[in-house]
Amino acid sequence: MKAKVYVTLKPSVLDPQGKAIHQAIKTIGYPSVADIRQGKYFELNIKEGLSEEDARQEIQHLAHSVLANPVIEDYKIEIEK
């Protein structure tokens, strides 16, 4: 089983890195891009023998306590069999 965790800044938190990337790409084109926000992506390989429900619960805890900082970040978990 594989889990994917996407960590993104909350909409209320300013993202100066995303802004800088957006500014830079504007100089080479891409006028259709209105805004960029940068995030993080984690791939987790889950050992065999765990149910999807148990895996999701464990990763939920991990994402909340370590991979993301809930003060400033949201996260989304996807599980692939």
Partner: protein
């Protein structure tokens, strides 16, 4: 009283802090390796500046999982005194011992400079030898010093006089033009509600000797001495 300076892989202000406490303040001090689970007989624990774990994941995030942090959380819950400087402040936030967190500087630059800081409240263990409103000249050196917290936490901090330091101009005025990193309301240092934990981005240990350009930071260590002496007097 005895100080303990925690050493994480990537700490780089640990020796400066040790030097100031032992040679300038003249108090007993020991290093505490982050894998240790004991702070021995230390009365004050300092989390020094640096780049623990190379700032991987988020600044202070991985250090906040080190074995010593469990011991420090128990120490904190019993009212133990903890000072986090720069990366130490980031670690305290990640560990949940202080509210909020530190984001990338708004201008995306690593800033290494002297800043003017105003003492907002001079009561308590860390700042009792300053005067409220006193201006300090302290250096900062960080890429992630932009203090951020929820409205609820900000209200809590202000209500309980937990904001100890703010970036200001040379006359002590607080305004956005003298905010080096984009911190909410120019915040440079905060305590928890119970006032036994201080986190600050400026480096008092780099400004404790006149020959280094400023000795304005020395009074923090001096304040801790005075506070602990009072505590010991009461114990007897």
């Amino acid at each position: 009283m005895k100080f303990g300076v925690v050493v994480f892989p990537g700490s780089n202000c640990d020796h400066d802090t040790y030097h100031v406490i032992s040679k300038i303040v003249g108090q007993p001090v020991q290093f505490i390796w982050h894998k240790s689970i004991s702070i021995d007989d230390c009365d004050v624990v300092i989390l020094p500046g640096g780049f623990s774990y190379g700032d991987y994941l988020r600044c202070g995030a991985l250090a906040s999982l080190s074995p010593i942090m469990q011991t420090i959380k128990v120490f904190a819950s019993r009212g133990g005194l903890i000072l986090g400087i720069c990366n130490g402040f980031q670690i305290l936030c990640e560990a949940g011992l202080l509210p909020g967190t530190l984001l990338r500087n708004q201008n995306l630059k690593f800033i290494c400079d002297y800043t003017r800081i105003r003492v907002e409240n001079s009561s308590g263990a860390f700042v009792n030898s300053y005067k409220t409103g006193q201006l300090l000249n302290l250096p900062i050196a960080h890429g992630e010093g932009n203090y951020f917290c929820s409205y609820e936490d900000l209200a809590m901090l202000k209500e309980n006089d937990c904001v100890l330091f703010r970036y200001c101009d040379e006359n002590g005025n607080i305004n956005p033009s003298v905010n080096p990193n984009g911190s909410i309301e120019n915040i440079a240092g905060i305590t928890n509600k119970e006032k036994n934990i201080l986190g600050m981005m400026p480096h008092p240990e780099r400004a404790s000797e006149e020959i280094l350009g400023s000795a304005d930071g020395r009074a923090i260590f001096h304040s801790l001495n005075i506070y602990m002496a009072e505590v010991e007097k009461k114990r007897r």
